[in-house]
């Protein structure tokens, strides 16, 4: 149960993977589809549109000022409809990962449907930035038991979809330990769980109050302190439409400043962390 400390590059004590799921209006459009006539709704979509319009540039600016790499998981539909910001993200040196086409629930799709979604988005990535994604985060909840096998077969190198660890691991597929690396995320490190809000459609469904900035800073920074203490991989899951508000992005900056008070932290993209893990573990 007590394992050896993890070896990170250049003697770093822990790794930090900043991730941004640039869902834009896909999640709201999916939710609206549950209502008769929901395809004509426009107001909730604007909650999502705020992400690529206003938040993403602000986040890119923040990352540039602190010289930090990040990983953006972008549904193919979003890349297609916001090509300028998508290309800017890639040109700034950040990694773009696969996140479905319209943020589909993979657990409810057949393997063929999953393959089709993956190929469709990869073609868009290839057209816009000249390369396909090698990382994947499952949209909306769970993937199916077949998804890891499919991703591995299709040449993906890592995923950040599971919850069962606080460091990367090699994914076991059909009883075999593979090179396909999982970098787990956590609900307690997800801004959406704490902040996302809408009256109609109701988000969250029980209409819980919006968490305060201080409250979430306290949770995230306490978790980071723990990840640092144990030398783990702190994978922060954010959504530009949520964290990119003028005040919340300042909270994120404060969190980055907090993390940077520790000297030996390795900020890296999903691809870099996965490569390190594959080479060393």
């Amino acid at each position: 149960m007590n394992e050896l400390p993890i070896k990170w590059p250049n003697g770093a004590r822990c790794a930090v993977m900043l991730t941004f799921d640039l869902d834009a209006e896909t999640t709201w459009a999916n939710g609206n589809a549950d209502f008769p006539g929901g395809e004509y709704y426009i107001r909730s979509l604007s909650l999502g549109q705020y992400g690529p319009h206003r938040s993403a540039p602000r986040i890119l600016d923040l990352l540039k000022r602190y010289e930090l790499p990040a990983t953006f998981f972008v549904p193919g539909w979003v890349a297609e409809h916001y090509p300028d910001i998508f290309v800017k993200i890639a040109e700034a040196g950040h990694e773009v990962g696969h996140h479905g086409y319209t943020h589909e629930r993979f657990v409810d799709k057949t393997v063929d449907e999953q393959r089709e979604i993956i190929e469709k988005s990869q073609a868009i990535f290839k057209r816009l930035i000249g390369k396909e994604a090698t990382g994947y985060r499952t949209p909306s909840g769970d993937w199916s038991v077949d998804t890891p096998r499919l991703l591995n077969e299709m040449g993906f190198r890592f995923s950040s979809s599971m919850r069962g660890d606080d460091r990367p691991y090699r994914t076991e597929i059909d009883g075999r330990v593979t090179d396909f690396i999982e970098i787990p995320a956590h609900w307690e490190l997800d801004d959406y769980v704490q902040f996302a809000y809408s009256y109609f459609p109701a988000e969250p469904s029980g209409q819980a109050r919006i968490s305060s900035h201080d409250y979430v800073f306290d949770n995230f920074s306490r978790e980071f302190d723990g990840y640092y203490r144990y030398g783990l991989c702190f994978c922060l899951m954010m959504h530009p439409q949520v964290i990119g508000k003028p005040g919340r992005v300042m909270m994120l900056e404060k969190l980055i400043q907090h993390i940077r008070t520790y000297p030996d932290v390795w900020f890296a993209t999903g691809g870099q962390i996965a490569d390190w893990w594959r080479q060393n573990y």
């Binding site: 769970d142 606080d166 969250p204 029980g206 723990g226 203490r229």
Partner: protein, 279 residues
Amino acid sequence: MSQSSIAWPDKANCAVMVTVNMDAELFWLGLSADAARRPKTLSMGQYGIKRGLGRVLDAFDRFGVTATFFIPGRIAELYPATVRVIAGRGHEIAHHGYAHEHYAALPLAQQREEFNKGIAALEQVAGIRPRGFRAPEGEMTRETLGLLREFGFAYSSSMFGSDIPYFIELDGQPTDIVEIPIQWETNDFPYFAFNYTPAFPAGQGRPANYSHALSSWKGEYRGYYRYGLCYVPQFDPQTIGTPGRIALLESLLDYIKTTGGAWFCTGSEMAEFWRKNGR
């Protein structure tokens, strides 16, 4: 100054029984059978076994706490080495059903069957006959209490109706089975557990603030200390065992130890004390 009317051992001001619920993925399977095809959902529970538990055990060692672990039989079957480690580190292992079932939904014969299977699994894996029982998060019936007598349990820690132990009544008569009550406000799961599908909490409230949760647990402890009661916090390794939250458990235990004057006990020790001294 304690206002306790109970003469706790060692002239203590109050009693503290630290408990752990080892539900792992059974919690999520109990919430929705559909979780079986949701690897990510199940992995939240598995995290408790894989990472959370080691930190919890280390915290107990560090503060010298012997705790009581409520373990479903199915968990003992799935993770036998883990359960043996818990027993090997000196903690008490108690019965928590077989597959974390909702007892009130089961006819008596099936409740009895789940008791049999749950107890047998603990006996087989850890070589112990559990003396205590905690109902899984669902409901229970008076028939469930009857099973406690039938199976010879010394205590239960399932009810909410007091903040000191009491003798369970069956058929209008007090028995010598001790109930050691629990409270939701000193259980980490309602504060921190979260999932979208299957949804927990049902109303999708936000996970609590860490500092506020810790402050509530310490605040309740101050009350139990002042009134001389029996403080029974509950933790699940999948929620308390994250890198950041384990520090909350450590801080709480440090607070109780530093305050002094607490009698730390296991469920069996409390049951024995109450049988001799309780009313």
